[in-house]
């Protein structure tokens, strides 16, 4: 039981798919300008991750080497189609805001990444826990960015006014670049808190590149 708890909690900070594994960036940045689409997107990714990890794990003994990748992509794509249709039926307004990004969950590196590197070699319950952990790790980052952007950009959260009416809205927050800035600052924060995650500086005097510049 402790093993499962660990597997679910570790990807939240220590092994976060977005800030450590550098996966799933596209939607974390593009869908995060307000909280409601971000919540629905996070739920969709978690749903697809769970389906993908569980089915790949169940089939791991049966996958022929030559078609392994396309089989995984087929399973993921089918799950995404179902999620997209469900959203179009029960949350049509948000589905239009998310537009192509629900379909792009197929190419979300986290989903395929976890399937290939974990679900393919591990039993079903472990894969389920892994899916949940990574999904929640992704959700934590996406929701943090979205909450900050909506609050500072529009003064609302979930379309409900939080900041006073006189608050001058920061329109930069509604544009794409702000997601990058916020994510960069979040990464800086996490790495200052957990210095183990910080990267080594690249070699500054590289004779080859000197030549290229000169």
């Amino acid at each position: 039981m402790g093993n499962y708890r660990n597997r679910i909690l570790k990807p939240l900070i220590d092994d976060n798919p977005v800030t450590v594994q550098i996966l799933g960036l596209c939607s974390a940045l593009a869908v995060s300008n307000s909280l409601r689409p971000a919540l629905i997107m996070a739920a969709s990714v978690i749903a697809v991750l769970i389906f993908s990890n569980v089915t790949v794990s169940l089939l791991r003994g049966l996958m022929p080497r030559s078609i392994r990748l396309i089989l995984e992509v087929t399973l993921i794509a089918s799950a995404v189609i179902v999620v997209d249709e469900v959203l179009k039926a029960y949350a049509p307004g948000t589905s239009q805001i998310l537009s192509v990004f629900v379909g792009l969950i197929i190419t979300n590196c986290i989903v395929l990444g976890r399937a290939e590197s974990f679900a393919l070699h591990n039993p079903v319950t472990d894969s389920l826990a892994d899916a949940l952990g990574n999904g929640l790790g992704y959700a934590v980052i996406l929701i943090s960015i979205a909450a900050i952007r909506e609050l500072i950009g529009a003064g609302t959260l979930l379309d409900r006014a939080i900041l006073p009416h006189a608050y001058p809205k920061n329109a930069l927050m509604l544009y794409a670049p702000s997601a990058f800035f916020i994510l960069g600052l979040i990464v800086w924060g996490i790495r200052s808190w957990r210095p183990r995650q910080a990267e080594e500086p690249e070699r500054s005097a590289d004779p080859v590149s000197y030549q290229e510049i000169g």
Binding site: R65, S66, T74
Partner: protein, 243 residues
């Protein structure tokens, strides 16, 4: 068991393909009616809004359906200018058969129109319009006054234009510019256009930064009220004493 042999590979591929197809097809089959219901609701809401029959605030879906059924609806044959009698106006979806709105081949000649009366006198008429925007097809409804030439209200409820830029054609502040403009001039020509620095009753100011999308709305309105659209029908109606 060695799965890497050719027959086993094909078998696994076939089984996964079948299972996924079944899953996806059932989901779509079950959910499609709900999705279509929503699309119809959205359309009816737009019609009621320009007809002046949509109450402010949150309106229940059932209320929208009820008010929509209350509207007087007819299907117009633009080629003859008369009502088509063998089509049920309320369920007729003339956009469903539209493949490419810009293509002349697929242009439908039948379109549903909605009449708003007060004490049996015609107050407003709602007519559907659509056409090519910058990136996508734009669909909307125009509400005309009893003189059948002055715009009372207009709404563009479905399009795929650039978010934040082209979708400003849905901005109520800009749409209000259309109110009171006249579509037809004295000679009966459809003259309303969307241009920069609009002056007079036949011009609407275009949205700076969204010039292509907003001027496209003018083009599609002019097309649908011109000789290929409702002009024949409206001329006939204006001539008759009893509308």
């Amino acid at each position: 068991m060695n799965v890497n042999t050719v027959p086993r590979t094909l078998a696994v591929a076939a089984i996964v393909a079948l299972a996924c197809s079944a899953m996806v097809s059932s989901a779509v089959y079950i959910l499609r009616p709900i999705q279509q219901g929503y699309a119809r609701l959205e359309r009816n809401r737009a019609i009621l809004a320009v007809a002046g029959r949509l109450p402010t605030g949150d309106v229940a879906d059932r209320e929208i359906v009820a008010r929509f059924i209350d509207l007087e609806a007819h299907v117009v044959d633009t080629a003859t200018g008369n009502y088509a009698t063998n089509v049920d106006a309320r369920s007729f979806d003339h956009w469903k058969t539209e493949v490419d709105p810009a293509s002349p081949v697929h242009r439908p000649t039948l379109a549903p129109v909605y009449l708003v009366r007060k004490d049996k006198v015609l107050e407003r008429m709602v007519l559907p319009v659509h056409g090519r925007g910058m990136w996508s097809a734009i669909y909307g409804y125009v509400a005309l006054d009893a003189d059948l030439t002055t715009v009372v209200d207009i709404a563009f409820f479905r399009h795929g234009e650039t978010p934040g830029i082209g979708d400003r054609i849905q901005d109520p502040a800009w749409l209000a510019n259309w109110r009171g403009k006249r579509i037809y001039d004295e000679s009966g020509e459809a003259r309303l256009r969307v241009v920069k620095g609009a002056q007079g009753p036949y011009e609407v100011d275009l949205i700076s930064g969204a010039s292509v999308t907003s001027s496209a709305t003018g083009d599609l309105v002019r097309y649908w009220f011109g000789d290929d659209g409702y002009r024949l029908f409206l001329d006939r109606l204006r001539g008759r004493e009893e509308l």
